[in-house]
Amino acid sequence: MLEVQNLAFSRSGGLRFHYNFQIQPAEILAVQGPSGVGKTTLLDLIAGFETPDEGSISWQGKAFHNEMPWDRPVSTVFQSDNLFDHLTCARNVSIGITGTSVSQQRLDAAFAELGIDGLQTRLPGHISGGQQQRVALARALLRDQPVLLLDESFSALDWDMRTGCFDALKALCGARGMSVLLVSHDNRDADYLGCKVMRLE
């Protein structure tokens, strides 16, 4: 279980955010709210890109808020700039998997599962934005980290493409017991995923 307890963070200018919630394994939590309420800040705190003032973040009871970003049990898919322009899509996926090597079979299966089979040797600049996001999602899923953070990762996709990604996400999240935190502006996303919604004000 991902547990965020009494997490506080202050931005310059006196803005202060507080977070308190839990996500069970195989559960998706959608975070909604107007701009500037700290949705992306929450993801940055969990991923380790920002340091909290106080509070704790833990996975299965083990706190990781003092760990470096690369030592956290977390994968993130950002809204854009998820891929390195000079690396092929396959390399973009495999470079994010440290410690163990990823087999070609597993890689191809992940590409097929997300409907991007055949793009392995292409450069990110030569595929659409939607395909780029799915390549990033393939990497996040193959990294096998138990916590997945999605920062409006699919908001630029059309609805059909988005639902395709959500279907794959739901299936993989259920099968692997991942805790997913999805920042989204669109109410339809949470409705389609049938997940809990946390509204930040």
Binding site: F78, T88, I95, T98
Partner: protein, 416 residues
């Protein structure tokens, strides 16, 4: 050039007029490149809005183009001033004698001909002081880097009035004038260089010795300047990431601009003369001085791109655990390859064309192509000099293109 084109009534090829004209030739391409960079940095949306609103040429210039140009013009003027102020070879060759001299040439004369070291040191200090003031002024202006890579062209977009003949005629006239200014001297070198003397020069043992020396100095100083600039840019990016100040690093690198080749050479000359034979150390000193002179240019090319890459890659790499050698090998070097190649090509080309440092340390035993060319001109062997100039031109352009194209190729290759 006047001899080559054979036009009567052109100003004499020596003296203040020739020096001024040569500096215009020399700096016009640089100015055009920087101004082009500023214009291509204007967001595409502004051009689209301008087309949609039907802005006239004057309105476009005032609202869109001038704000972008105005950002770089003061810094650019300071830079061109600096380049002209520290110009050595053009004044030495075209000055025509003591009537037209500069601080640079005076330092050289004091050092090499009068052996008046205190006088040379005083003049070098004066030169350094003036240049440092200009450089401090230069760093005060932000804006597109003056050594940045050429920007990619945007998709064509029709603007109001640009298809009418007065605009098109003006464009043609301006472009033709620029081509004449930038290309004619090169055409003159090629026309005069291809001739019976070319084969003769290729048979000179001195030519091959000078070519070898030039290649060694050019390639080594280009490579070392790029390596050093890369390391400094990496250090700067690290400090920015850690929230530490970097202004002193920027100022220190910019101050290298103030230290012209002759000032640097004078310092080395005064420092080492009592303890070693300067002319034995000449290859190493020429290499060192050329590397340091090229360093700010290489740094400017690399640093901007590295900062931009860090902005997009830092979070991603941190999240994916791509660090250290792995990040350097797979992310930084391939993504930065075009800039590294450009910096190396630029630094090597600057070193290959150097006449200043070699004028201080050159001898019969150690000559580079520019020094051999100057000596050939001094002996009034204009045919051989033209052939040498052509060979030097080919070598400089060839080396620059080699680095530039190779690195572009590496950068454009998909890395699987």
């Amino acid at each position: 050039m006047s001899q080559s084109v054979g036009l009567p009534g052109l100003p004499p090829i020596y003296g203040i007029g020739a020096v001024l004209l040569a500096h215009v030739f020399f700096n016009a391409p640089l100015m055009m490149r920087v101004l082009m960079g500023a214009l291509s940095g204007i967001p595409a949306a502004h051009w689209r809005q301008s087309a949609q609103w039907g802005l006239t040429e004057w309105q476009r210039f005032r609202l869109i183009e001038w704000p972008a140009l105005g950002q770089v013009i003061p810094g650019l003027l300071a830079l061109v001033f600096l380049l002209c102020f520290t110009s050595f070879a053009l004044v030495l060759i075209l000055g025509g004698g003591p009537a037209v001299t500069t601080l640079e040439v005076s330092i050289y004369t004091a050092l090499r001909f009068n052996f008046d070291l205190p006088r040379a040191a005083q003049l070098a200090c004066l030169q350094l002081l003036i240049c440092a003031l200009v450089v401090i002024g230069l760093t005060a202006f932000s804006g597109p880097s003056w050594a940045a890579m050429p920007a990619l062209l945007q998709r064509p977009l029709h603007q109001r009035g640009e298809q009418q003949w007065p605009s098109r005629l003006t464009d043609y006239l301006i472009i033709t004038m620029f081509v004449v200014i930038a290309v004619l001297p090169l055409v003159a070198v090629i026309v005069r260089g291809i001739g019976p003397h070319l084969a003769g020069v290729l048979a000179w043992p001195a030519f091959w010795r000078a070519l070898t020396a030039s290649l060694c100095v050019g390639l080594a100083s280009g490579g070392l300047a790029t390596l050093l600039a890369f390391m400094m840019a990496t250090a700067r990016t690290r400090r920015v990431r850690a929230g530490r100040s970097v202004w002193w690093l920027d100022v220190a690198v910019s101050l290298y601009l103030a230290v012209s080749a002759i000032v640097l050479g004078t310092g080395l000359f005064i420092l080492l003369r009592p303890v070693a034979n300067i002319f034995t150390l000449a290859p190493a000193l020429v290499l060192l001085a050329n590397m340091l002179v090229a360093l700010p240019f290489a740094y400017r090319v690399i640093e901007g791109r590295m900062a931009a890459l860090a902005a997009t890659h830092d979070r991603l790499c941190a999240g994916l655990g791509i660090r250290g050698w792995r990040r350097l090998r797979w992310i930084t070097l391939p993504a930065l390859a075009p800039e590294l190649g450009y910096a190396a090509g630029l630094s090597a080309a600057l070193s290959l064309g150097d006449m200043t440092v070699i004028a201080l340390f050159g001898s019969q035993q150690f000559q580079t192509l520019p020094w051999l060319l100057y000596q050939t001109m001094a002996r009034y062997r204009s045919g051989e000099a033209a052939a040498l100039a052509l060979l030097l031109l080919c070598l400089t352009i060839g080396i620059f293109l080699l680095f530039h194209l190779m690195s572009r190729r590496i950068g454009n290759q998909p890395h699987a």
